[in-house]
Symmetry: C2
Subunit: 404 residues, 2 copies
């Protein structure tokens, strides 16, 4: 049986312990919802204050040049690129993840005009499904959703674009990115990945993928609604046709030409003027990763998840581990199913352990390797155990009845 | 001949003088580029600091509900609505102006499927032209650009959507919004307006217009790249079909349904998770308008521009006033043409008077009524006069030669 001392020992040996010191977390909170909103990195408050009071307040319009606002989206992209295994100028920040996906999948679809199917899986995040359906409708194609395990079987020469989310937002199940990319290429399709639930928690390699998008506010800790990022494989830079032509994607934006001419390279992914304060927060947040090896993040993530699952097996009854037990098949969060998931999570949050629920019956715990301590895993599972044992909780359960 | 005392007297009688006190402007700067980036409203720094350090840092994921992040885009919309003459729940913030225009014009185009032409004028802001062209291409239509004065003549029953920018970003020339909207409706077309260069500097009435978008960072002073806003006339709320379906526009986003069902009302304009820090800055910035009558803004704007043009006539030689002299035909900035526009502006900025240039030969001065003093107009024109007279400037001019 594992005990708290076991996790304390892991913390003492943790080569990433210094990274946790770069985050501001409230006292008495075990924060396991960073897969939804990452916590505050220490460099952010001073950066946003300087951004607002000096760069905007004093520099005014001059800061577009003097303070590098104009290429901030690119500089954010350069900080994200190593986390994706991507070359520096193949990633750029901007827009929301949904709009970024719309742009990437539309552009991918246009690169394979003679086929009609956009293929995805039913477990994809709903907004991705909605976006893919919009693209399919507008480009005279069809969106096909199959079970996650049936993707490879369904790949055939009518598929234009395979569009998947790498790590499932509910179960934590992870698609094999390299294998499915290769399988898509094998039938002449392009592969576009949503990395929202993986980037910042593991090492990635998008060097074969055609395009990828992801979220700035989960494991990248860029703040609520932080701008998304888009990766375009350099082999597509010359042919990426943005479905929304806008001046930020123009080769010469200040020429104010009547007709659009796409910028060279990754710049053509851009459309309009980006929210610079939020972008500056994301840029500052990414600083915490500058000297961190993504492989070390992955190693710690696997150990956190292993410890969590082992403790669930040893300490809890009535909970099913929904997340795959094999590290190769999962991301960095763990989901447990329980018929009273919502009530249990409310009681757990009241004790200072923050995860979240996904209806109907999942409790989700994000085990972010950048800032969590191993003892957080112990404290969480021990907290669940206490919640299940305590008198008040039993009364609440009797009152509210099972969640169906 | 007007003198500085004349402008000082106008300031003493200015019923909006109290509003200027709500902005932070650097000492010694006359800031006439608020039509490009508005200055810092006083409530913003404390709001963004609280937002980052308390709401994000301490509240973490709980702030989506506890601090109202979830409906912040709507609350921003409610603050903008009175400036548009729009009902409270017909305006929502989010995305960039380019993406907002793409959504609005695409949705308008779908409401008139049996026609093919999107009509605009050649003076429209280039990004608007690019966006309109994207929509035309994707919906099997044509973008037609005519001279600004030829719009009404070109309106005919093949026009699906009239899409115009209210105030021309170069000349300051203003389209008659109500008249052209009525003319569009007269031929069965819809009218979509870009109000980026008018909102916050004048009273508006969009009650007949079909849709409108605008920029959060010009006269609304929401900070660099602040999110845009979208107005949809309530008569279209039930039929607005967003070209990008995303979870924020879903009727029940947390049901995580496989298929999209549009939210009731203005919420369906939304797509993905918005940059909350930038949105919070915009919300705080708009507070300065809460007790300000947009008509009073317009009255002051007209007086500022009248004073500016009179002074140019009296004090300067070799400059042509490009902006219409009739208040009914212009917005809130003044453009002067001069062959050495770029050099003159550089010299003026070095003296602390900040405007900008638009190639090939325009000097632009934004006369924002919310925070400018009448003496700023005097100081600007007097600054231009001094620049033209001073020895150093003559040498610079001789060295650099005319700008062609």
């Amino acid at each position: 049986m594992l005990d708290r001392a076991h996790f304390e020992a892991l913390d003492e040996d943790d080569p990433l312990a210094y990274v946790a010191g770069r985050f501001v977390l409230p006292e008495g909170i075990v924060y396991l919802d960073g897969n939804s909103l990452g916590p505050l990195p220490a460099p952010v408050p001073a950066t946003t204050a300087r951004m607002v009071e000096q760069q905007w307040g004093e520099g005014l319009i001059r800061s577009w040049n003097d303070n590098g606002w104009w290429d901030l989206a690119r500089r954010v992209g350069r900080r994200i690129a190593p986390l994706l295994g991507a070359p520096p100028d193949s990633v750029i920040a901007g827009d929301t993840t949904s709009v970024a996906l719309y742009k990437a999948v539309s552009a991918a679809r246009r690169l394979v005009p003679d086929r009609s199917v956009i293929l995805t899986d039913r477990g994809n995040f709903p907004t991705d499904l909605y976006v893919l359906d919009s693209v399919a409708e507008q480009t005279g194609g069809t969106l096909e959703m199959v079970a996650p395990a049936a993707i490879e079987e369904r790949l055939a020469d009518d598929v234009a674009v395979l569009a998947l989310t790498h790590v499932d937002y509910r179960s934590g199940r992870r698609h094999p990115l390299a294998e499915l990319t290769e399988a898509a290429h094998g039938v002449g399709a392009l592969a576009v990945w949503d990395l929202s639930h993986s980037v910042g928690a593991m090492n990635l390699d998008v060097s074969d993928a055609d395009m990828a998008v992801g979220c700035g506010y989960k494991y990248l800790n860029g703040g609520p609604g932080a701008p998304a990022f888009t990766y375009v494989n350099p082999r597509h830079h010359g042919k990426f046709d943005n479905p929304i032509h806008g001046w930020w994607g123009h080769a010469d934006p200040f020429a104010m030409n009547l007709s659009f001419r796409a910028a060279e390279g990754i710049g053509r992914v851009q459309v309009g003027t980006q929210p610079i304060i939020s972008l500056a927060a994301l840029y500052a947040a990414l600083e915490v990763f500058d000297d961190v090896d993504p492989k070390a993040l992955r190693t710690k993530s696997e150990r956190l998840v292993d410890g969590f699952i082992t403790l669930v097996d040893q300490q809890l009854e009535g909970f099913e581990v929904v997340t795959p037990r094999s590290p190769e098949e999962r991301g960095s969060h763990v989901s447990l199913s329980h018929p009273q998931a919502a009530d249990i999570m409310a009681a757990l949050i009241a004790r200072g352990v923050i995860g979240d629920v996904r209806p109907p019956d999942l409790l989700r715990f994000g085990l972010a390797p950048a800032y969590l301590r191993y003892v957080d895993v112990w404290d969480c599972v021990d907290g669940i155990r206490q919640v299940m044992e305590e008198e008040g909780w039993k009364r609440a359960r009797a009152r509210s009845g099972p969640v169906t």
